[in-house]
Amino acid sequence: MNVRTFFSTASAWLLALLWISPLLYAFWAAFHPSEYATQFSLSAPFTFEQFERAWQQAPFMRYMLNTIIITLLILACQLVVCTLAAYALARMRFRGRGVVFALILLQLMVVPEILIVENYQTLASLSIIDTYWAVGLPYFASAFGIFLLRQTFMTVPQDLENAAKIEGCGLLRIIWSVYVPLAKPTYFAYALVSISYHWNNFLWPLVITNTSSSRPLTVGLAIFGAPESGVDWSVICAGTLISIAPLLIVFLIFQRHFVQSFMQAGIK
């Protein structure tokens, strides 16, 4: 262990500590009585009271359910829509393929968040404001998903498809039983990226939801934590932990997969 390695290790750990300190602090505040929110002492009593109060002051259970439904609805629709488009772009020769692909990639730049004003109008005219579908619709056709799956489908050997054709499989059958199983790792990676994105998404749900019937956790938390609501710090921290707990647990269990998924998504 020479001086240089020691110095690197020490700085790396110091930065890591700095990086998780906000989370550590939230745990401290949430599990201790309010008067200990600003003072640290080893004798501070341990309590679940903050969680009970947060639970009573906002319909977190409902928000959680909304977030789970929205996230899964978006993921399910994305997988279907993107798979079909990705197959056509990867394996079929048709006129205007390049143009279509370029148009789809345009959405990587012009993300739905930027068009909130117009998209709100569109959904208002369909009169489905404040529903799960309204939160999800702009995200179903994901350029990123189409691009990722197209890259994967292009690596599938053509012979497999030909064999399936000889067996008399139709187009959808070929996609379902040849391409989808071989692209499983890509689907998994994309699912992790999509879930973490939509679990955390805020601006669009804020615009399009009005009541707790469709409001996701992030929007609920923003209302809950607003200074004018007069909730104290420890309770806000407890609410924050309630909101991030499911995602954090999934992340800690699958952290290796998470890291690899994000890597894979980045390389392509």
Partner: protein, 288 residues
């Protein structure tokens, strides 16, 4: 037969194209169209260039653009340098690299809104953790989010904290793809570590840097969640950013036609970024 194949290809792409048309292309075209109309109470919207004339006189817009540029110019390089440093550390054989990677990456996974709540407490004037720390060392505290000179920088600190770990992942992937024989060659040539990094590792990381750079700049324009919790763009627009200003104009001031013009400004910025990405930088990056 070709006709048939053509038909099934379009049929497969239909759902995606309809959705993209409805939520990306059409809104973009409509935004452009409506930016040339002014709302007059009681009558049909009038076609005029007033919105665009007002753009140049709108001091808030210039303030917001300036903020966004400063915000981008500081957060992007800082995040990237930190990300590279983190990736090098995690990639080196340091002790507990798994834990280090986890610690760096965790902020990325958490919702911006949730962590902004915690940061709000760090920054709060009376009881905030930062000011308490300063007081402990005998310094006066600052009003981090209430002081026009500090608010934007306080936002930046949180942004860098949130983004760096995300970009680290891409550098890590790139570092693991570098062939180890290159390091051996460096060792045989007797190259120092700095030289090795400057002349071998860094050039190989260039494509990743480009990818991260574009993503970071995009994020700097499209991620404004923390403003809702920390500053609401205040004090007096000192920490306001373009997308938040669009949101305010449309949903607080209820001025849709001006919001359309602001959205056009945003789309132009994105267009410039796209051109820079595909045009200029592509040529300059050294690929293997």
């Amino acid at each position: 037969m070709t006709h048939n194949r053509n038909f099934s290809a379009w049929f497969l792409m239909l759902p995606a194209l309809v959705l993209l048309f409805g939520f990306t292309y059409l809104p973009t075209i409509k935004t452009l169209w409506y930016s040339f109309f002014v709302n007059v109470p009681g009558v049909q919207p009038q076609a005029s260039l007033d919105n665009y004339r007002y753009l140049f006189d709108d001091e808030v817009l210039w303030q917001v653009l300036k903020n966004n540029i400063i915000y981008t110019a500081i957060t992007v390089p800082t995040s990237i340098i930190l990300a590279l440093l983190m990736a090098l550390w995690v990639n080196a054989k340091l002790r507990g690299r798994g834990i280090l990677r986890l610690a760096y990456f965790t902020p990325t996974i958490l919702p911006m809104i949730a962590v902004a709540n915690i940061w709000l407490f760090f920054y709060s004037p009376e009881i905030g953790l930062l000011n308490q720390l300063l007081a402990f060392f005998g310094y006066d505290g600052y009003n981090w989010l209430g002081d026009p000179n500090l608010a934007l920088y306080s936002l930046m600190a949180m942004t860098v904290w949130k983004e760096a770990g995300f970009f680290m992942i891409f550098y890590l992937a790139a570092l693991q793809n570098i062939n180890t024989t290159l390091y051996q060659a460096c060792a045989i040539e007797g190259a120092g570590r700095c030289y090795q990094f400057r002349r071998v590792v860094f050039p190989l990381l260039m494509p990743t840097t480009l990818f991260v750079l574009v993503n970071a700049v995009l994020n700097a324009f499209k991620l404004v969640d923390h403003l809702f919790i920390l500053t609401k763009g205040g004090p007096n627009n000192a920490s306001n950013l373009l997308l938040y200003y669009i949101y305010e104009t449309a949903f607080s001031f209820l001025d849709n036609s001006y919001a359309a013009v602001l959205t056009v400004v945003m789309l132009l910025i994105l267009l410039v970024l796209a051109v820079v990405q595909f045009g200029v930088l592509e040529k300059r990056v050294h690929y293997r």
